[in-house]
Every structure is written in structure tokens, then in C-alpha cells.
């Protein structure tokens, strides 16, 4: 009897595990297939892109579209712009978000100000970005900043900073405060305790915030479309969208540029992945 129950539960466990793997497989196919399809198309001649039945693997691979996009058209320039804007936004948002998050997590405020300020910061994210496009356009126009990368960095930071602040705030709140107190009693200043103790321990939070900010600004389309018009300032998403023209849609170029646009983000995610793992503060307190 007991054996029967055990066998059944073991079979059940196995079925569950297979179901779990199947679910993961479906999710993987759903997310990875489009990426694969872009990559495959980027290596095909135009005529093969539209082949029926579809050509799953490029039969006559070519680098023609890469040549068109990156040599003949200014996609390298767009990529550089995207890179500068994304990195600039990330550095600014993470720097200020970290300091603001720390201040909100650690300092004492009279009455309910901590909540009020936090909420106020978050509330700037509540409206859809499109609402602010015309004011932003007028603002940058007034300061003669249209068609500049700095305008994009400022605009993106405005949207990323609340998120970075909240993320870092919750991260600092999870760190035991005694560690910083110990540093202060050991002779450090508040700033020193932040720099030497809190910040190194917040590395996973910093990594997560940075990835988020980088991806958002790398992918951003709408603001960039409105604020920038020149080759010197436009980012990759705008450049790619520009290949959908009145007369033709250049799927090959779009695929080549789109595929290359994925690469930096994937590399960056791989680099910071290990910092994303929590648990660095394990063993700090008791245990």
C-alpha cells in the first residue's frame, strides 16, 4: 500500500516536472523565435524573405543587407547615438536615483514627508509619456536643444529617474541599517558609510536598475522621433523605422539593423547578470 502511494507520487512528480519543462519550452519559443526570424532574414536576399513556404534557414546567406545598413546608410552613426544616449541616461539616472533612494530609505522626515515625497516622485510616471511630448518639444525648442543627444538624455532621465529612485530605495531599505551604523561608529562619515558599505552591498540593485534604464532608453522611440530629425542625433529605433518608406519597406535592412541592435543589450545583460543575483548581504547579520 505504502509502496503504491509512493510510486504514484513519484510518477506525479515526474509528470509535473515534464509539464514545467514544456511550459518553459513554449515560452522560450515564443520569445526567441522572432529574434531568430530577424537574424535569419537579415542574411537572406529580398526574394527569399518572402518565399512561400517560408525559408526557415537562409539557403543562400548574404551580408548584403549589413553592407546596405552599416556602410551605405548611416546606421553605425545611429548606433553610436543610441549608445551615447543610453549610457548617458543610465549613468545619470542610476547616480541620482541611488542617492535619492538612499536619502528616502535612511533619513528621517517630519510628518509623512517620506511617503509624500516618494509618491510625488513616482507620480511623474503615472501619465503616459506622450502627454508630455508637446511641452518637452517646446521646452527643448526654447533652449535650442532640438536635435541634440543631450535633449534625449534629459528627457529619458526624467522618465527613468523615478523608477531608479524607487528601486534603489527599496534596495537600501532591505540592507540592515546596523552596517552603516557600525561604519559610523568605527569613524566613518555618513557619506563614507554610504560609499564604503551601503553602495558595495547594493550592487545587485545597481545592476538591475542600470539594465532597466539601459533597455528603456535603448528602445525608446516616441520622444526620439519628435525631438530629433538629424542624422547626428537620431537613434537606432528611428533609423530602423525610417526604412519603412512610402514606396517600399526594406525588410532586409530592417532585419540586419534590428538584429545588431539586440546585440549590445544581450552582452550587457550577460556581464551584469551575476550581480543581479541577490544574497550578497547574506551573513552580514546573525545567521
Amino acid at each position: 500500500m505504502a509502496t503504491a502511494i509512493r510510486t504514484r507520487s513519484r510518477a506525479w512528480e515526474r509528470a509535473l516536472r515534464i509539464a514545467a519543462y514544456l511550459t518553459i519550452l513554449v515560452a522560450l519559443v515564443l520569445t526567441l523565435f522572432p529574434v531568430y526570424w530577424i537574424a535569419a532574414n537579415s542574411f537572406k536576399f529580398d526574394i527569399d524573405i518572402f518565399a512561400v513556404p517560408p525559408e526557415w534557414v537562409p539557403r543562400n546567406p548574404t551580408l548584403k543587407h549589413y553592407d546596405e545598413a552599416f556602410i551605405e546608410r548611416p546606421f553605425l552613426r545611429y548606433a553610436l547615438n543610441s549608445f551615447l544616449v543610453a549610457v548617458g541616461t543610465t549613468v545619470v539616472s542610476v547616480t541620482f536615483g541611488t542617492m535619492a533612494g538612499y536619502a528616502l530609505a535612511r533619513f528621517s522626515y517630519p510628518w509623512q514627508w517620506r511617503r509624500q515625497i516618494s509618491f510625488w516622485i513616482l507620480s511623474t510616471r503615472m501619465m503616459p509619456p506622450i502627454v508630455s511630448i508637446i511641452p518637452l518639444y517646446l521646452f527643448f525648442n526654447y533652449f535650442d536643444m532640438l536635435n541634440t543627444k543631450s535633449a534625449l538624455i534629459i528627457a529619458y532621465t526624467a522618465f527613468n529617474l523615478p523608477f531608479a529612485t524607487w528601486m534603489m530605495k527599496s534596495y537600501f531599505q532591505d540592507l540592515p541599517i546596523e552596517l552603516e551604523e557600525a561604519a559610523i561608529v568605527d569613524g566613518d562619515t555618513r557619506w563614507g558609510a554610504f560609499l564604503h558599505v551601503a553602495l558595495p552591498l547594493a550592487r545587485p540593485g545597481l545592476a538591475a536598475t542600470a539594465i532597466f534604464s539601459l533597455i528603456i532608453s535603448w528602445n525608446e522611440f516616441l520622444l526620439s522621433l519628435v525631438i530629433t530629425l538629424t542624422e547626428q542625433s537620431q537613434t537606432l529605433p528611428i533609423g530602423i523605422a525610417g526604412r519603412v518608406t512610402q514606396y517600399n519597406t526594406y525588410w532586409g535592412e530592417i532585419s540586419a539593423a534590428g538584429f545588431m541592435a539586440c546585440v549590445p543589450i544581450v552582452i550587457f545583460a550577460f556581464i551584469v547578470q551575476k550581480h543581479l543575483v541577490r544574497g550578497l548581504s547574506l551573513g552580514a547579520v546573525k545567521g
Binding site: P176, A182, A183, V185, G287
Partner: protein, 357 residues
């Protein structure tokens, strides 16, 4: 070389008064223990010395310097936290050396002092490890080493032993006492464990609800409790507190009558008897103060704890390890004449009481 002085210090958190009108002087090289239940204000008191809390009013001095407005880094105190608060991203060596690094001690001296202190707490083979690779006792030693690596004016210890298991705690207690004797640094030690307080302290300040109930040597606190709170808090098993009333100088409770409080009358009084200050005798002993049935008999090894059913409560006494009484049998109790304490339950103060023999 430092004394610490509190003058009329009050600390409020919002409306809550954590420490109330607090006066205390901790002498140079003294080991002073702040003892009390959780929430009594003992940790807050210590944190005010460290500079982690600001006093709402009053003055705190280290020697002649008023330190209320001095930044923690200039106070020159070292603290051991209850949670140890080791820096998880730094090795044992860097943890111990942190206070030196902040003070920009030259590398040779840094190395020398860290290894010297590590040897002293027997961590010299683990300098390259991270805190998470250490056992509880070892982490505790790292915290201790970080505090003694420089010679601060005052040591602050916030329940440093409470996270250790019983055996390790006894061992570390002895080491702490020895260390303080060697280093001769003024120490303020916070605990809710009265055994720690009794064994470590030169003087104990028993705190309750933000005020000092009694300040004295462990012996004074134990033998001469001034208030009902101190009487009940110190001692294990705790003092038997028998409620009753005093009429014309005679304490009366169910089955117990002792005279000796002069001619006073106290409507609500409490008689205190320590477990070891009474003898369990035969029920027919003519000299017994009271007779009551045995509720339980517990052999601890060195002696036997006998609980008697006295009215609606239990009275616990320490008897010989060969005590042979059985549960439900009646037993007599002979209380040592000079070891009875009488308290007024309303004021919670001790009342002068000399039982007539």
C-alpha cells in the same frame, strides 16, 4: 581613560519617552551593565553615547567634553552590535582593519595591529575569509576584534552574546571579562540577561521604563533590592513575591504571618523571599512559617527546586539535591529571618522590615 556622564538626559521618539530624566556616571575603567527588559531604554541610552541617537534634552559627557553635538567619528567610542554588523563584502582582515583604514593608519602599522588583534581573538588563521564563511562564535570575535583594534575611550556592547548558544555564551562571557580587565577601557554593556549582568559588571544599573530603578554592585542589587521591579527581575529562579497586607506592622497572607514592620499599615503589600533563603522542612516542624502542599519537584543536579502551592500561586524554593518530598505531600517552610523583603505594592518601594524572631 574615560568616564561617561549623563545629566538629566531625556530621549523621546515622537510622544514615546524612551529614556526619562536620566542621571548616571560611569567611572573610568568601569564595567557598567545596563540591565532591563526589552523596551526599557537601555539600548537607546547606549546609542546616545555612540552618537547614533540624539538626546532630546540633557547633556552627555565623556570626561569633560560635552558630546551631544559631536559627530560619532570624533567621539572615539567602539561598539559591538547585537547582530555583529560585520561588513559582508569585506574579509575578516578588512572588517577588523576598517576603523584603522578610516583613520588612514600607515600600512605597516595596520598589518601589525590587525594581526595582533586577530591573534588575541584566535582568528589569525581566518583573515582571508568572508563573514558568511564563519560560525556564530567566530563572527562574534570579529566584531569584538573590530572594536578593540584601536583603543577607544569607551566600549559599547549591545547584547553581544545573545545570538550565541548557551555553552559558547558562557565561554565568551569569561573571555569578555578577561579582555576588559586586560584592556582597562571603560565599558558600557547592555543586556536583558541578569546572569550576564551579575557576572560581568562592576556596577549594574537596572532600568525599567526609561529610568534607573537601582544602581549598585551586583551584590548590592541582589542582596538589597530597593524596588519590587528589581527584586522580581534579578535572580533565577526569581524571588517569590507573596501578596498580602500589613496591619499594624504585621504582614499577613494566606497561611503566613510575620511581624516586624514597626507599627505601619500597608493595605497592599508584597513579601519577597528568594528561593535559597528558605528551608523546606517537615510539615510538622514547629518553627515553620507556613505549611503548603508540594506542587512539583525538579532536580537541577546541584540542588532541587521545590514548588509549593501557596494560595493561588506557586512558591519556588531551592532545596538540597537529596530532597525526598513527593508531589501533593505537605511541606513546611522556614524563611530566614533576615532575608525577607517587604514592599509596598502601590509605591513599589521597599519598606523597612525587621522580622521579629
Amino acid at each position: 581613560m574615560a568616564s561617561v556622564r549623563f545629566e538629566r538626559v531625556t530621549k523621546k521618539f515622537g510622544e514615546f519617552v524612551a529614556v526619562h530624566d536620566f542621571d548616571l556616571e560611569i567611572r573610568d575603567k568601569e564595567f557598567l551593565v545596563l540591565l532591563g527588559p526589552s523596551g526599557c531604554g537601555k539600548t537607546t541610552t547606549m546609542r546616545m553615547v555612540a552618537g547614533l541617537e540624539e538626546a532630546t534634552s540633557g547633556d552627555i559627557y565623556i570626561d569633560a567634553d560635552r558630546i551631544n553635538d559631536v559627530l560619532p567619528k570624533y567621539r572615539d567610542v567602539a561598539m559591538v552590535f547585537q547582530s555583529y554588523a560585520l561588513y559582508p563584502h569585506l574579509t575578516v582582515e578588512d572588517n577588523i582593519g576598517y576603523p584603522l583604514k578610516i583613520r588612514k593608519v600607515p600600512p605597516e602599522e595596520y598589518k601589525r595591529r590587525v594581526s595582533e588583534v586577530a591573534r588575541r581573538v584566535e582568528l589569525d588563521t581566518m583573515l582571508k575569509r568572508l563573514p558568511k564563511e564563519l560560525s556564530g562564535g567566530q563572527r562574534q570575535r570579529v566584531a569584538l576584534a573590530r572594536a578593540i583594534v584601536r583603543t577607544p575611550r569607551v566600549f559599547l556592547m549591545d547584547e553581544p552574546l545573545s545570538n550565541l548558544d548557551a555553552k559558547l555564551r558562557t565561554q565568551m562571557r569569561a573571555e569578555l571579562k578577561h579582555l576588559q580587565h586586560e584592556l582597562q577601557v571603560t565599558t558600557i554593556y547592555v543586556t536583558h540577561d541578569q546572569i550576564e549582568a551579575m557576572t560581568l559588571a562592576n556596577r549594574v544599573a537596572v532600568m525599567n521604563k526609561g529610568v534607573i530603578e537601582q544602581l549598585g554592585t551586583p551584590r548590592e542589587i541582589y542582596n538589597d533590592p530597593r524596588t519590587l521591579f528589581v527584586a522580581g527581575f534579578i535572580g533565577s529562579p526569581s524571588m517569590n513575591l507573596i501578596p498580602g497586607e500589613v496591619k499594624d506592622g504585621v504582614f499577613e497572607s494566606a497561611g503566613l504571618r510575620v511581624g516586624g514592620a514597626g507599627r505601619v499599615t500597608i493595605p497592599r503589600a508584597v513579601l519577597g523571599v528568594r528561593p535559597e533563603d528558605a528551608l523546606v522542612t517537615a510539615a510538622d516542624d514547629a518553627q515553620a512559617n507556613l505549611v503548603a502542599p508540594i506542587y512539583s519537584v525538579e532536580l537541577t543536579g546541584e540542588n532541587t527546586l521545590v514548588s509549593l502551592q501557596l494560595g493561588g500561586r506557586l512558591m519556588t524554593l531551592r532545596a538540597d539535591k537529596n530532597f525526598a518530598g513527593q508531589i501533593d505531600q505537605p511541606a513546611g517552610v522556614k524563611i530566614a529571618r533576615d532575608r525577607m523583603f517587604l514592599f509596598d505594592a502601590d509605591t513599589e518601594r521597599r519598606v523597612d522590615f525587621k522580622p521579629e524572631g
